[in-house]
């Protein structure tokens, strides 16, 4: 039996084979969706760029060459031009991918998970647990996000690490809201009652039965928030509270280029395009993932 037949068989022999088959089917769904593949290609390219930065970049991202300042794209061996200190913008974007991925990755892993736990617990238990957790969420939601992040960073000190922490702390409440709403629709379902009748505890029900139902809305929400997360990091950098110069962070690069926007458009535009393309990639991939993750959408 070939690998293809082993994966696509209607009657898997083991749990492992069944799971591999599901993964394979999900992958085929994803491949069939050209937009999702485009998103995946963008993300893969971003990851490769970050991992191979020293080989992909043409210049040192930090060394300043003042005689070459503000060269237009293509001039003097700088494909995307240079900034106000003569640094190669292309190389800075390549190295900046590392910081962007670092911020996005850590926020995307922490905030939704925390929001999911808070939201499902509030929705499932109800009563005073719900009241306490949701009022706490409301308090976080009531502050403008950037202001709250500012306050956190001001208290914790400037730097990429603290910026990530601040963004994560301000990003979780919407996930908690989404997760709670989803939980409320499934908590009285018969399959939850059935699990309870089998003696399942609250932890098992929330993790195994409630969370899978919330996951697709949260994943979509996360991918839509990616652009916002990058921009919040940029905003913090702009205010001198995020990535510190000379670190090549995309948002910081935009705010530095703002001063020359009319005469030297490429300084701010190039990192802006980078943010745009990466956000688009996350959105496309997220949309495709949602479809692929839902077993019900599989062709029958």
């Amino acid at each position: 039996m070939g690998l293809g037949a082993w994966l696509t068989t209607d009657t898997p022999r083991s749990r492992f084979q069944a799971r591999m088959g599901q993964t394979y089917n999900g992958w085929r769904d994803l491949v069939r969706n050209p937009l999702a593949m485009l998103g995946l290609a963008i993300i893969v390219a971003l990851v490769l760029m970050a991992a191979l930065a020293p080989w992909v970049a043409t210049h040192d991202p930090i060394v300043q060459t003042l005689k070459d300042r503000l060269l237009p794209p293509g001039a003097g061996g700088h494909p995307l031009g240079t900034d106000e200190l003569g640094r190669d913008i292309y190389s800075r974007i390549v190295y900046g991918a590392r910081i962007t991925l670092y911020i996005v990755g850590i926020v995307a892993v922490t905030a939704p998970v925390f929001g999911l736990v808070v939201g499902t617990a509030a929705g499932y238990f109800g009563g005073w647990v719900d009241t306490v957790l949701m009022r706490l969420t409301d308090i976080f939601l009531a502050f403008p996000r950037l202001i709250l992040a500012l306050a956190f960073v001001a208290a914790l000190g400037a730097g990429v690490g603290n910026a990530i922490l601040a963004i994560a702390l301000t990003a979780w409440p919407p996930y908690a809201r989404v997760a709670r709403a989803e939980t409320l629709t499934v908590r009285n379902a018969d399959y939850i009652a059935a699990a309870r009748l089998q003696g399942a505890g609250a932890t098992r029900i929330i993790l195994g039965h409630v969370m899978p139902m919330c996951l697709s809305s949260v994943i979509v929400r996360v991918t839509l928030d990616m652009a916002g997360i990058i921009l919040t990091a940029a905003g913090l950098g702009f205010l001198g509270l995020g990535a510190q110069p000379p670190l090549p962070e995309w948002g910081t690069m935009i705010s530095a280029g703002r001063k020359f926007l009319l005469d030297h458009w490429w300084v701010a535009t190039m990192p802006g395009l980078a943010i745009f393309v990466v956000s688009l990639g996350f959105n496309l991939l997220g949309d495709g993932l949602r479809d692929a993750l839902d077993p019900r959408s599989a062709p029958r």
Partner: protein, 249 residues
């Protein structure tokens, strides 16, 4: 022999103030070990609520539920002795779990050994082959799903099976198959059934004794023999009987 399940003056009340609904009023009955007891009534007569109250899924406002003469235990201990099959097999199986995962769950919760064998055996018992094991519920028909739900309930080898309209969501031919399956399993395993249905024909087929309920209260107690001979006392029971006859024609 004493009753395995006894319900004494059970009262169930939902809500407070103006929204207060007295769903079950002073209902009492007993089911002996190995027996099969039916609760019959129209929609909203409180029959399903009685089942849910026994399981702890509905709030008991008064009265007692006894299992083997003792108050029903809670949580894990209860699960080993009493299991339930829900009305709607489309709602009682988790849409994102494979049949394998559905059946593995009770085994994991109760720390039972040889899970693989148990799952295979459970699927065989309800007439589903292992070909169905790694499917999702949406890939199964209603009758097949209800068989999975029955397999799940029987995995823990309970003494009592609560059946909440187990066939009303299925079409007529599948209904007969599932009822025959339930009857066979009861004979094989010596199970005690408490069956809820609005259909007297189903209860007649499955149960030795039954209780007719209306508006949350018990109306009439009947033996299956009396039902067969149409010896019913109350007007309401007669109406139900007529309804089921009309259906049978």
């Amino acid at each position: 022999m004493g009753a395995l399940i006894e319900v004494r003056d059970l009262n169930v009340v939902f809500g407070k103030g103006r929204q207060r609904v007295h769903a079950v009023k002073d209902v009492s009955f007993a089911v002996e070990r190995g027996g099969s007891f039916g609760l019959v009534g129209e929609s909203g007569s409180g029959k399903s609520t009685v089942l849910r109250a026994i399981c702890g899924l509905a709030p008991i406002a008064g009265g007692q539920v006894l299992l083997d003469g003792a108050p029903v235990p809670h949580g894990i201990a209860f699960a080993r002795r009493v299991q339930m099959v829900f009305q709607d097999p489309y709602a009682s199986l988790h849409p994102r779990h494979t049949i394998d995962r559905v059946l593995a769950e009770p085994i994991a919760i109760h720390g039972l050994g040889d899970g693989e064998d148990r799952i295979e055996r459970a699927l065989d018992e309800v007439g589903l082959g292992s070909a169905f094991r790694f499917r999702y519920p949406h890939q199964l028909s209603g009758g097949q799903r209800q068989r999975v739900a029955i397999a799940r309930a029987l995995l823990l080898e309970p003494e009592v099976l609560l059946l909440d309209e187990p066939t009303s969501a299925l079409d007529a031919s599948v209904q007969a198959e599932v009822l025959n399956l339930l009857a066979r399993l009861r004979a094989e395993k010596g199970l005690t059934y408490l069956l809820v249905s609005h259909d007297l024909a189903v209860v007649d087929h499955m149960c030795e004794r039954l209780l007719v309920m209306q508006h949350g209260a018990a109306v009439e107690r009947l033996e299956a023999a009396a039902l067969e001979a149409h010896r019913v006392d109350t007007e309401y029971a007669r109406t139900l009987l007529r309804a089921s006859e009309g259906y049978r024609r």
